[in-house]
């Protein structure tokens, strides 16, 4: 039956074609639309956190600005670069899958995982710094007064600064969780790719995992300025 709808990339009876689809094209389009819809749910999911952050930033501007300046902008910038490069390697992996070059595909997937782990490692260093500076919300939280660039003291309610760090940990933590899932996902895909599961006629999982990775990347692209940058405009 699939023959009548066969497309250029369609082999005679592709083993990956699931019984309820007419042809590979329909299957690929369905998987792709499903992934995009899943990304929509992810955006709504993070949207709740972004909404909370922006509202409290307006309510407690001074505290949020002061707390934000305690974040290490160099680590944040480094991680942004790491993630952007990893998005490139994901695209190259998809390209390799399209070309059917298995070794390149596996290599790019492994590099992506390594970049993801680098990001997580840096995040761990940052979390450790917060812990040492007593910036982890809870009974041990402490926030000393800060000064602006003119040496003037910024009056800050430590409770409000604590709220900043609550949201900082909630948002970057939820993002890191997605990174961990992504690293696991690409590790599995690398093994499957090594075993030769993917071909120019069937690489949907690589493409969809790539979409997921780009989304996680984009979320960081918004987190970085919101948490690290926008209070340093002076």
């Amino acid at each position: 039956m699939s023959d009548s709808h066969a497309t250029a990339v369609d082999t005679a009876d592709p083993p990956q074609l699931r019984h309820h689809f007419a042809d590979m094209e329909q299957q690929k389009n369905s998987a792709s639309l499903g992934m995009w819809l899943f990304l929509v749910t992810e955006i709504m999911f993070f949207g709740g956190l972004f909404c909370a952050y922006l509202i409290y930033r307006l309510m407690h501007f001074n505290a949020f600005a002061a707390a934000s300046q305690q974040l290490d902008i160099r680590w944040g910038a480094f991680n942004t670069a790491v993630l952007l490069i990893s998005s490139v390697t994901v695209v190259l992996a998809v390209r390799a899958a399209q070309d059917g070059s298995r070794k390149q595909l596996v290599a790019y997937l492994i590099v992506t995982v390594l970049l993801g782990l680098t990001f997580l490692g840096v995040k761990a260093i940052e979390y450790k710094e917060k812990f040492e500076k007593h910036h982890v919300p809870g009974p041990t939280f402490a926030f000393t007064n800060t000064f602006d660039d003119n040496g003037k003291q910024i009056p800050v309610n430590p409770k409000e600064a604590e709220l900043f760090y609550s949201l900082y940990f909630a948002m970057t933590g939820m993002h890191a969780l997605h990174m961990i899932i992504g690293c696991g996902l690409f590790s599995v895909l690398a093994i499957l790719a090594w075993k030769g599961h993917y071909s120019p006629g069937y690489y949907t999982p690589i493409e969809n995992a790539g979409l997921y990775w780009h989304l996680v990347d984009i979320i960081w692209i918004y987190l970085f300025p919101l948490l690290y940058l926008i209070s340093r405009h002076s």
């Binding site: 309820h20 369905s30 749910t41 709504m44 949207g47 709740g48 509202i55 409000e160 609550s166 909630a170």
Partner: protein
Amino acid sequence: MATTVIPAQPASKPVNYLTNGFTLKSWLLTTDHKRIAILYLISVTMFFFLGGFFAMLIRLELLTPQGDLMHADTYNKVFTAHGMIMVFFFLIPVVPAILGNFLVPLMVGAKDLAFPRINLLSWYLYIIAGGMMLHVLLNGGVDTGWTLYSPFSTQFSNTNVIEAGLAVFVVGFSSIFTGLNFIVTIHRMRAPGLTWSRLPLFVWAQYATSLIMILGTPVIAITTVMLAVERLFHLGIFDPKLGGDPLLFQHLFWFYSHPAVYIMILPSMGVISELIACFSHKRIFGYKIVALSSIAIAVIGFLVWAHHMFVAGISLYAALIFSFITFFVGVPSAIKIFNWTATLYRGSVSFATPMLYAFGFIGLFTIGGLTGLFLASLGIDVHVTDTYFVVSHFHYVMVGGVVMGYLGGMHFWWPKITGRMYPEGWAKLSALFVFVGFNLTFFPQFILGYVGMPRRYWQYPPEFQVLNVLSTAGASVLAVGYLLPMIYFAWSLRYGPIADANPWGAAGLEWQTASPPPTFNFDETPVVTWEAYNYDEIEPKHDIGGPVER
């Protein structure tokens, strides 16, 4: 002569989805959308009766003005259990996960949903969440109300709020996966020739519902995560002492939970469109506008959430705008009611049980919808907020609307699902019980609320007793009306008359395949060359499935 042939098994009888495997494994690991619908039917029905049990406890406590059946704390836990189970484990999944799962692939002429394994996963998530909910109940329950309002839920309640919240989180993903599956299936898997303007209105309604599931449910998920994190680590996201704002919780909660009301009602509206067209034997009046009104409800429904917060201290101007948009969302609902009644006009109307439920739906939903407009007006809302008027209003929509639509749909598609007819006489009797019992239960609550009885109290002044006794009596009648179908549906599985492929003479692809359908739905992929509800091309049946007069 000597060869007495043993009459062979009716080997010609084709295998259908029910006879394709009898082991437990063939059910628990099935990816057949029809079998998953049956799994949902069983589990959702169990939760319906569990939620109903808590409803009966509430009504029994309110039989007398004194708090004599249970303590106030217990009462809090009982109405919370009733609300959480009914909202998250019955009303939200009931029509999409049972009838939608069964019918959407059939109606679009597909072999299955786009992602059968994700469909099965969604059922398992439902079961896991249900198990968590039961675990919470067995460990003392929750006393926050189903709304989980902060700061009570984050700082003061000593009950198992976190696990209940996580159950909501998990069951939310079950509904996200159902919605995602429907949208992809409707976009990508329609049979050749089945254009959007030829889709049955039930499919349009499921599509609109799925949009809300996809866009709304993640927000309640992150909200319950924030709630859990705040409780666990004593953060201040919703705590004003620590710089947070409890209103933010209400905003985020209702951003999902108001559209969730439309997750509940839209699928039932889709059912009613099918019933009205079939039993009027007529194309639905204004097909396109009815289809688009579902989408309009889904879109506008996202812009009205703060009408739950008129007395919570939001700005007056915000309240005015939300009030206006709330009136506005009534328009597409009213369009549906008008078009259904216009379909009846000069139709060849018959009064089989599904149609009785459809009539019940129209009447009760209209009352529920109109009282919703009362509540959308700021002045009246301030007067009746948190009274039984509100309770009655949403039960008219949720029970009078959703459950009537669901029961109508179950009777209508029962022959397709099981291959057997239900007993028409008993079914009509139970429809009568449901209608009378429902009105007796909830109409007195409008009056109670208007004269000032607040909700969520376990005792009340003695002058409210007469109306409360009426309400409890009605609840008993309603319970009989809900138990009867359980009995005769089960009876009909074995003794009901065999149904043919199209016992009602209905339009729609699902009636063109066998009852029950084969595992892959259609022997050949159908090609659609006709509009939806082409009843002028279908001969009316005069003896619909047995004793039905037309």
